[in-house]
């Protein structure tokens, strides 16, 4: 029983972290039907940037206490905003409406951004430790709940709630949902849909960069391969969850996280394969994903 509780807890944490990475991808995919192959490289850049600041500030002024973690997170978010804007403005915007070219051009961006990471921070693994206030664990019965995982779950749940609330209630959210359905009609109502696209792209990239940053202490390292590896998982989540459905992405992410946790315990090499199989099964039965609109 403890074993399963532990695995579920771990799976939940991993899943919620994956959700942060996938949420932006899902929004972008849903609204602009752009499958952003650069997403992984972008959050890797965010992860490196945030980690770099986090480590730098931590070493430079230990009086800051745990603040360096949040400064690192802010740095990741900041670079996410900048990168999101640049990528949308100069590449993705040019090829809206053409799936093939979108996939190609974001692949190009993936190459460039991925290599830039190596230029700035080198091709080697960088070790990252968890901030002091989040190290350690508390026990509930025989189940050890590590603070960092608890933090991830709470943080991501807050983000998820904010996102859902925003989509449901705010004007921007309604516009985004309407834009996912019919971007032409939105324009006829006097809304510059391009601007909304840019905002969503920036926002999605920012979320991913924050997620990427949080991934570092979670795994104890950042490395140049994480972009592609995690992007694949994010893709799986989006495909399972359905086009543009934030709630769908969250559920799919938890599903993937749980299968990761269980596979990691019972048969580590098979974890990715199992997720692939889930994705393939979902797509074959319901090509729009579990929660995607049937269009």
């Amino acid at each position: 029983m403890e074993l399963h509780l532990t695995l579920v807890f771990n799976g939940l944490a991993t899943g919620m972290l994956i959700f942060l990475l996938a949420a932006g991808l899902s929004l972008i995919f849903g609204l602009m039907s752009v499958l952003n192959f650069a997403h992984g490289a972008l959050f890797m850049f965010g992860a490196y940037m945030g980690t770099w600041v986090y480590i730098l500030i931590g070493g430079w002024d230990s009086n800051l206490g745990n603040l360096n973690f949040f400064i690192g997170m802010a740095a990741a978010a900041g670079i996410g905003i900048v990168l999101g804007y640049l990528v949308e403005r100069f590449t993705v915007r040019q090829v809206y409406g053409n799936h093939l070219r979108q996939i190609l051009i974001t692949t190009g961006v993936m190459l460039v951004v991925g290599e830039l990471v190596k230029v700035f921070w080198g091709p080697n693994v960088i070790r990252v430790v968890q901030p002091e206030f989040l190290t350690g664990y508390f026990a509930v019965g025989d189940v050890r709940l590590t603070y960092y995982r608890v933090f991830i779950i709470i943080f991501s749940t807050v983000i998820l709630a904010l996102l859902l609330f925003m989509l449901k209630k705010s004007k921007l959210g309604i516009v985004v949902r309407a834009g996912v359905e019919n971007s032409e009609m939105i324009q006829a109502l006097g809304i510059n849909v391009r601007k909304v696209f840019t905002l969503v792209f920036i926002f999605g990239t920012m979320l991913a960069c924050i997620g990427g940053f949080m991934w570092g202490p979670y795994q104890g390292q950042v490395n140049p391969a994480m972009g592609l590896d995690l992007m694949l998982i994010a893709f799986i989540v989006v495909a399972i969850g359905g086009l543009g459905s934030v709630a769908g992405s969250a559920i799919a992410a938890v599903l993937v996280g749980l299968s990761e946790a269980y596979m990691a315990y019972y048969f580590p090499p098979g974890s990715l394969a199992v997720n692939m199989l889930i994705m393939a099964a979902v797509l074959l039965i319901r090509p729009t994903g579990l929660f995607g609109a049937t269009r």
């Binding site: 516009v175 359905e181 019919n182 032409e184 009609m185 939105i186 324009q187 006829a188 510059n192």
Partner: protein
């Protein structure tokens, strides 16, 4: 209020409009007639700025709106009711209205109240998803949505299309009220509706305006009607 001068629209390689000229005087209901595929919808959509390759000129309140993006054109005060209503199916009626509001001030809310009085059906369906509305309700929502902002000119594309007769009647009644405050450019194949609402008509055929005149003229001249509408 709206002037279209020698409008040529290309969609991809197709030269769809090949010289459309028309004028919508302020306070009027001007009807665009013509058979299927003649270019009526393309004309309206060209005004809304949906096509990049448009030549000629389109003047709204004496200013050219040619080559402007659709959202700017909408902001000038042109409301658009598309052929297929294009209601956001996943949004409730309330949200559909809200998405259209460019300002959420008292004036806009007042206008919304007025529209809901005009279309009581919408009030009843207020929390329902757009996708679950009936065809008539969709049409009403589409019209209300276009008018919730300050809209001096309304472009309406075939409001009677696919509607049950009783709904056509309701829509027509509403249009009769709307015309008192808003200038209307109406595309319509339903001749009864067109002739009851319209003051003036333009006939489009093969992408060109081929005939224009007072609506009365058309009501009296059956030959003309047959010729361009293809009714016998």
């Amino acid at each position: 209020m709206l002037k279209i001068k020698d409008l040529h629209t290309h969609i991809e390689q197709f030269h769809i409009l090949q010289g459309v000229n028309l004028e919508v005087p302020e306070g009027s209901v001007t009807v665009v007639l013509g058979r299927n595929g003649a270019g009526k919808t393309t004309t309206i959509r060209s005004v809304m700025g949906f096509y990049p390759n448009v030549k000629g000129d389109i003047l709204f309140q004496d200013q050219s709106i040619l080559q402007q993006p659709p959202y700017t054109i909408a902001k000038h005060g042109i409301g658009y009711v598309p052929e297929d209503q294009d209601i956001f199916a996943g949004l409730t009626v309330e949200e559909n209205m809200r998405v259209a509001m460019r300002k959420e001030d008292d004036k806009t809310r007042e206008r919304q109240e007025w529209l809901l009085d005009l279309f009581p059906d919408l009030k009843l369906a207020w929390k329902r998803k757009g996708g679950h509305l009936s065809g008539g309700q969709k049409q009403m929502l589409s019209i209300a949505r276009a008018l919730v902002n300050d809209t001096p000119l309304l472009l309406v594309d075939e409001p009677s299309k696919g509607l049950a007769p009783i709904m056509v009647e309701k829509v027509m009644e509403a249009m009769n009220v709307i015309r008192e405050t808003t200038t209307i450019l109406l595309v319509e194949q339903n001749f009864i509706m067109a002739s009851q609402l319209g003051d003036y008509f333009y006939m489009i055929d093969d992408g060109q305006t081929v005939f224009e005149g007072e609506m009365k003229l058309l009501q009296e001249d059956e030959g003309l009607r047959k010729k361009y509408l293809g009714i016998a």
